[in-house]
């Protein structure tokens, strides 16, 4: 392989004044977490401007690039070639690099961080440009709008050449943008929503509503597998499971069928808000997409949102199901999500859910019984699990409340 290093460019980080060091540290940690899993022989380092990975001969560049493309906070990835600092070596490597590219116009851009280097930048550019022109047919130089730029950097240890960059995921390094409590059902959407939020730098806790025996206990294994896949983007993953059966049954006892789903979502958000508050998490997140199902119309969102003042992040809100499925396949959660075991058994699925529910109606149904007690009970009985290295969930002991 001609390349010796990868240079990873930070994206929106350059706008982050004094926090920059923290952001870069988090980014390098998440890169190294991926490398440790997939490429144990590689390690990323960083300085104030970039992160670097020294490549090894046996590594497949395309596979490594696609792994890096998933990591939030990397704007651009540039493979570079290390060269001896004499003109002959520079020429040889420049040609090797440029012959791989397709372009009709180019320029050479030289930087000399090592100012003691005896040959001037202009001289290097002229020599290399001449060599490229002479060896690659039907191309010309265009210094204003070149299709391809050969970057040459002369450092004290060696020279570095590059001519192509690959786009990264963008966004912020994992965990830098604050926290959110993601409502995770086990379907296709919520893992994709989680991925998009991870990419934006959010740290997520996960909340799942279980209604045994109406939902299968096997769903927990499915969630573990989903979270294991998502653990590529966040180091420590916690899943909180809410026992929801009693509330569910009360809803169905006191509510007319079309409003059941709306009330169920309202109860879920109430529980999620209280729990998030307890855990000092300032926002909630869901995998809802507008219009996808009856409970996801804007009218329905309004009736549901009314129970909480917390911001509800809905990263999928304007995405098509097909787009969502495409991302799910890309990040590897799709095949897990389509396994059977519903989050909510068909028993609780109304035949004709209300597509434009009114809050007034919701309040009317909710006045029929004292649900607060059940909500308190549900929050009280939440069980928390931590995802382990091997992909299993470990039940955490409840912290003693003071």
């Amino acid at each position: 392989m001609i390349y010796s290093h990868l240079i990873l460019h930070f994206g929106e980080l350059s706008t982050k004044g004094l926090n920059k060091g923290y952001f870069i540290g988090e980014l390098v940690r998440s890169i190294n977490r991926m490398l440790k899993k997939k490429y144990p022989s590689l390690r990323a380092t960083s300085d104030h401007a970039h992160a670097y990975i020294a490549l090894k001969e046996e590594i497949s560049l395309s596979a490594l690039l696609s792994s890096l493309e998933d990591i939030p906070g990397i704007q651009r990835i540039t493979p570079v070639c290390q060269s001896e600092r004499d003109l002959d070596s520079l020429k040889k490597n420049a040609l090797l690099l440029m012959k791989e590219e397709k372009f009709s116009t180019f320029k050479v851009h030289v930087r000399r961080p090592d100012h003691t280097f005896p040959i001037s930048g202009y001289e290097i550019a002229r020599t290399l440009g001449g060599a490229v022109l002479a060896n690659i047919p039907s191309i010309s130089v265009d210094v204003n709008h070149p299709e391809c730029t050969l970057e040459v950097e002369i450092r004290s240890d060696a020279a570095y050449l590059s001519c192509h960059s690959y786009p990264g995921a963008g966004g912020y390094p994992s965990g830098c943008a604050g926290r959110s409590l993601m409502l995770l059902s086990g379907g296709i959407d919520s893992p994709v929503a989680s991925y998009l939020l991870f990419r934006r730098g959010l740290r997520l806790d996960f909340l799942h509503f279980a209604a045994p025996p109406y939902t299968s206990s096997a769903v927990i294994d499915k969630l573990a597998d989903l979270l294991h896949t998502l653990s590529a983007y966040q180091e420590k993953i916690l899943l909180h499971v809410v026992p929801f059966t009693n509330l569910q049954l009360s809803i169905y006892e006191h509510t007319d069928e079309p409003y059941c789903i709306t009330l169920m979502r309202r109860m879920m958000l109430r529980i999620a808000s209280i729990y998030a508050e307890e855990k000092h998490i300032p926002s909630l997140a869901t995998g809802e997409s507008v219009g996808q199902v009856a409970s996801q119309t804007v009218e329905s969102m309004r009736a549901i949102n009314a129970v909480t003042s917390m911001p509800i992040l809905r990263p999928l809100v304007a995405m098509d199901k097909l787009e969502i499925m495409k991302v799910a396949k890309k990040i590897g959660t799709y095949d897990i999500s389509i396994r059977p075991y519903e989050d909510c058994c068909t028993i609780f699925k109304p035949k004709k859910p209300k597509t434009k529910p009114k809050e007034k109606e919701c309040l009317f149904y909710e006045s029929r019984w004292d649900y607060n007690l059940q909500i308190e009970e549900a929050v009280e009985q939440i069980k928390s699990y931590q995802l382990q290295e091997d992909g299993t969930l470990l039940l955490l002991e409840k912290e003693n409340k003071q």
Partner: protein, 382 residues
């Protein structure tokens, strides 16, 4: 754990396990090896075959082939016999209530150019009625595969009546899947009624991963696995001699216990059935004139079977359903559908199956939880 899923599998019996452990040390050699140890193992292997035939009171001329389980046994017999005797005819008869290892195998043979008749089950018998079989038989029928006791419903097939009909069709080989039928009481059809039978060891409290074919000497199925020609050339691969010995041993143990265990599970089944019949508005018991005392199948009229399974599972009680808790992939019981039961009832059936491990006290606990579930679980037709 109260285990009412014995038809799925059983824990290995202590006696079988210690027998197997000892045999593994003493007869470890390859039964194909020519040295003293190899010959010793080969002798034990032949003795295991004889033991099985003796236990089943079948002539010693029959062939016994050891496989990896009943699924492989069914595959080898059905594919092997059909392919071998395709020259005599290409028609096969089976029923819609068979185990997938029979049904899917027949589907595969259809792709290979065989024509297969899938018989419905008679709703009162729970099995293929002899007259239906008679009507389906053709001159070119070479194979009839009908199970002895249905694994989901426990319905017992009148194999002797089938045999009588088949006696005027000498070309048609009669195979029966006996997986749920080895020493399961006096109602079990006789092993002599068929030309070939298959079963597995783990459903008898034997070691998992072992199956058997027993067939008349004249039968010559075409092998699926080619190789060193072990097992008369029908099933190549180094033979697990201690495993084969353990099957023969487990079978003998079952024979010894048959009467006692059958009496016990008959009482257990009766008690549960009585309870279910008291609540006809909620349960439909699938009972037939000839039913195995080891299996009790009923449908929930108002509730979902997956929910009841989940409920009982959380109370430490293991039962069996066809479909999982899923709206997308709801399966229904093939035999119940095959006997004309409604889709809703076929989807929401529960199978309880019994063994010597169960007791009448366990039944009290089961019934207590069933009653609790009957009263509290939410209606599926909301």
């Amino acid at each position: 754990m109260l285990y009412f899923d014995s038809a799925a599998t059983l824990p290995v019996k202590d006696s079988v396990l210690s027998f197997y452990a000892e045999a593994s040390h003493r007869f470890f050699a390859n039964s194909g090896s020519l040295h003293e140890e190899g010959r010793k193992a080969a002798k034990e292997l032949e003795k295991a075959r004889r033991d099985i035939l003796q236990t089943l009171s079948l002539p010693l001329s029959y062939k016994v082939i050891f496989t990896s389980g009943a699924t492989e046994s069914n595959n080898l017999l059905i594919k092997g016999l059909a392919r071998r005797y395709a020259g005599r005819g290409k028609h096969i008869i089976t029923s819609l209530g068979e185990h997938p290892s029979v049904l899917k195998t027949c589907k595969q043979l259809e792709k290979e150019g065989f024509s297969v008749t899938y018989l419905s089950l008679d709703s009162s018998l729970g099995a293929v009625s002899p007259s239906t079989l008679k009507e389906a038989l053709r001159k070119d029928t070479i194979l009839v595969s009908l199970m002895a006791i249905n694994n989901e419903t426990g319905a017992i097939s009148p194999l002797e009546e089938y045999q009588q009909i088949l006696s005027s069709y000498p070309k048609a080989i009669f195979h029966s899947d006996f997986t749920q039928s080895m020493f399961k009481g006096p109602l079990t059809p006789p092993y002599q009624a068929v030309d070939a039978l298959s079963f597995s060891s783990h459903k008898l409290g034997g070691i998992k991963g072992h199956g058997v074919i027993v067939m008349k000497e004249k039968l010559d199925p075409f092998p699926i696995l080619d190789g060193g020609g072990q097992e008369y050339g029908y099933r190549s691969g180094t033979v697990d001699v201690p495993g084969a010995m353990s099957v023969a041993f487990a079978l003998k143990e079952c024979q010894k216990e048959e009467k006692e265990v059958t009496n016990k599970v008959t009482l257990i089944r009766q008690k549960i059935e009585n309870y279910l019949l008291e609540h006809k508005e909620d349960y439909k018991v699938h009972s037939f004139p000839l039913t195995s005392p080891y299996i009790l199948n009923f449908s929930l009229i108002h509730q979902k079977s997956a929910v009841l399974l989940e409920y009982l599972s959380s109370k430490g009680i293991a039962v069996s359903t066809v479909s999982a808790c899923s709206s997308k992939k709801e399966e229904a019981s093939a035999p119940l559908l095959a006997m004309g039961e409604s889709l809703a009832l076929a989807k929401n059936s529960i199978r309880l199956s019994f063994s010597s491990l169960n007791s009448l006290e366990e039944v009290d606990t089961l019934l207590m939880h069933l009653e609790e579930a009957r009263k509290t679980l939410v209606d599926r037709n909301l």
